[in-house]
């Protein structure tokens, strides 16, 4: 009898070797549809079972209140884009962040872009301070979280998904260029925005942890493939102390902190480790030295990564995928502290043979102790 996904992930997070490498998958709707058709399966659950994707951690978060009524425009937007109306994405509506449908390309899912940042016109910190944020006491806010925790906690690690907290939520509300300008030229405004968002995120974290989550998961994108959006100096001045306060909500209860950031965030990995993250995703394979991260911090954090979704999965051959997977298993998997899958969403341009090769290789060679072909 193998480990449950929960046992497997918790073992990996404790820097021990589980029965096999825990597997996750970010598969765009098109890719899931193609794979289900290929295997003749009806649901994603069946698909994940078939491929060995055990998704050790499940994210739960806050929903709009039970009596929340979407505007007809938002209902239509969801209908077109393929989202459920009352989902975590609906929080954009509550915050007044407007989105419009964007390019579709060849995907079944249409993209959107931000069309209005509600705090963009503010000129005084007091305007930020006066803003009312979504009421966390509203009935139904954590319905879904409670239900999922109850149903899945024995088998999965449940993470309190805070989503975008300071930087990403900050620019969604203020506009990215405006927030950058605040950081450089208007520290009072920058702090007003970030302190307001920090207080809110701490409240959400406390409530999700009270409900029984195993930790919190923060998702902020700090870099592009070349480097970070802002300097490490500015990051340390404004963001590091605030993240520490947020992470401490979990750490002082002995709970976990998962952190996601796309891009090359090499300059701040040490800082994130210092303030208590347990897992870092995706340690982007196209632009970060994953082996260096493993060597420097592998005893403190889990590297939650995968095959390059920008290069190998869409443009490589199955052989390329196999080689990249074996390389990761060879250098990153030993000793635990390792989770694997797709580095980010495998979108509609990814041949399913590549996805199949990724998981078949993991299932064949990802059993501990790792033994690889010569």
């Amino acid at each position: 009898m193998g480990m449950t996904p929960r046992e497997r992930l918790l073992t990996a997070l404790a820097h021990k070797e589980p029965d096999r490498v825990p597997l996750t998958a970010k598969l765009w709707a098109d890719t899931r549809l193609k794979l289900r058709k290929h295997y003749g399966l009806k649901t994603d659950e069946e698909l994940f079972d078939k491929m060995g994707i055990d998704n050790g951690a499940i994210n739960v978060g806050s929903l709009p209140p039970r009596d929340w009524k979407p505007t007809p425009e938002y209902a239509e937007f969801c209908n077109t884009i393929g989202y459920e109306v009352r989902s975590q994405y609906a929080t954009y509506e509550e915050w007044g962040i407007e989105r419009k449908l964007g390019a579709k390309g060849q995907s079944v899912v249409q993209q959107f872009f931000f069309s209005h940042h509600p705090w963009e016109s503010f000129t005084e910190p007091s305007q930020v301070e006066e803003m009312k944020l979504p009421n966390l006491n509203a009935p139904g806010r954590f319905d879904d979280a409670e239900k999922t925790i109850e149903e899945k906690k024995e088998v999965h690690v449940i993470m309190g998904g805070l989503g975008h907290v300071l930087w990403t939520r900050g620019w969604e509300l203020r506009g990215m260029l405006k927030l950058m300008k605040d950081l450089h030229t208007d520290p009072e405004m920058a702090d007003a925005i970030l302190d307001k968002l920090l207080a809110y995120s701490c409240d959400v974290a406390d409530r999700l942890l009270d409900l029984g989550c195993d930790g919190i998961a923060v998702s902020e994108d700090w870099g592009n493939n070349y480097s970070m959006f802002i300097s490490p100096t500015l990051w340390r001045k404004y963001f590091k102390p605030k993240y520490k306060k947020l992470f401490d909500r979990a750490k002082r209860r002995g709970k976990l902190v998962f952190f996601h950031s796309d891009g090359n965030i090499t300059p701040i990995v040490g800082d994130l480790v210092e303030i208590g993250i347990d897992s870092l995703n995706p340690v982007q394979p196209e632009c970060m030295d994953q082996i260096e991260v493993k060597q420097k911090y592998g005893d403190k954090i889990t590297i939650d990564t995968g095959v390059s979704n920008q290069k190998t999965l869409p443009f490589g051959t199955p052989e390329d995928v196999r080689n990249e997977t074996l390389y990761a298993l060879r250098y990153l998997a030993p000793g635990g502290g390792f989770v694997y899958g797709t580095s980010h969403y495998a979108m509609y341009d990814v041949p399913i043979e590549n996805v199949i090769t990724l998981y078949e290789t993991c299932m064949k060679y990802g059993k501990y102790p790792i033994r690889l072909p010569e």
């Binding site: 390309g105 872009f113 450089h184 970070m228 290069k311």
Partner: protein
């Protein structure tokens, strides 16, 4: 007394709030507008270098552009008509069909404009044929395609394909930019250059224009 080096350094130090007053003081002290412009451009080039060394980051690039713009607001009325127009070359730029991301394109545009290029921005989600149409219409030297997503990068090859079909491939240089772009795309899509860094892109485009002027 504000000298040329102060102005260069003010751009490097992102003195967004102070730069307008500094330019005004330099003008009042009798510094020629062209000398001031030259110092500001040197400052912007230095910011590009710092970005390459990863000592500066995207927000510094953006703020350098904003600082340059604040300086130009004071300087522009004093420049002659000839020096106001972008005489470095003409670039048609846009985010390719299927892609609605425009941040990288905005940075590229700022640096191109500051470097003396005339930029025609087609916006986002631009069909490949539109790049070609516009390039012909404005007699561009360069077509700049921006693509963030791996799934939209191949459409840059469609721009090249259309140019070839119409027998005008040699008329324009084609450059692809985007954070996930690698040099691999040059051969794959038949491009002249592919960069993941706007300042590097501008450097390449300036080199192309120098070469072109050399031929003429």
């Amino acid at each position: 007394m504000v000298d040329a080096n102060d102005l260069r350094q003010a751009i490097v130090d992102l003195k967004y709030r102070e730069i307008g007053g500094m330019v005004k003081a330099a003008l009042e002290a009798g510094t020629s507008p062209l000398d001031i412009l030259d110092s500001l451009k040197k400052g912007l080039n230095a910011v590009g270098e710092l970005y390459h060394k990863r000592e500066y980051f995207l927000s510094e690039l953006y703020m350098a552009g904003e600082t340059m713009q604040a300086a130009m607001e004071v300087l522009m009325p004093t420049l002659s008509r000839e020096t106001q127009t972008g005489d470095e070359g003409t670039v048609v730029i846009g985010s390719i069909q299927g892609d609605i991301h425009d941040f990288g394109k905005a940075i590229a545009k700022t640096f191109l404009t500051a470097s003396g290029f005339t930029v025609h921005d087609l916006g986002v989600d631009v069909p490949p044929a539109k790049f070609v149409e516009e390039a012909l219409k404005v007699n561009a030297d360069i077509i700049g395609v921006s693509a963030l997503l791996s799934s939209t990068q191949p459409s840059s090859g469609d721009v090249v394909k259309i140019l070839k079909e119409r027998g005008i491939r040699d008329k324009f240089k084609v450059i692809l930019g985007g954070t996930a772009v690698t040099e691999w795309a040059i051969k794959e899509f038949g491009l002249d250059a592919a960069v993941n860094d706007a300042t590097e892109g501008v450097r390449i485009m300036k080199r192309w224009m120098e070469e072109k002027r050399g031929w003429e």
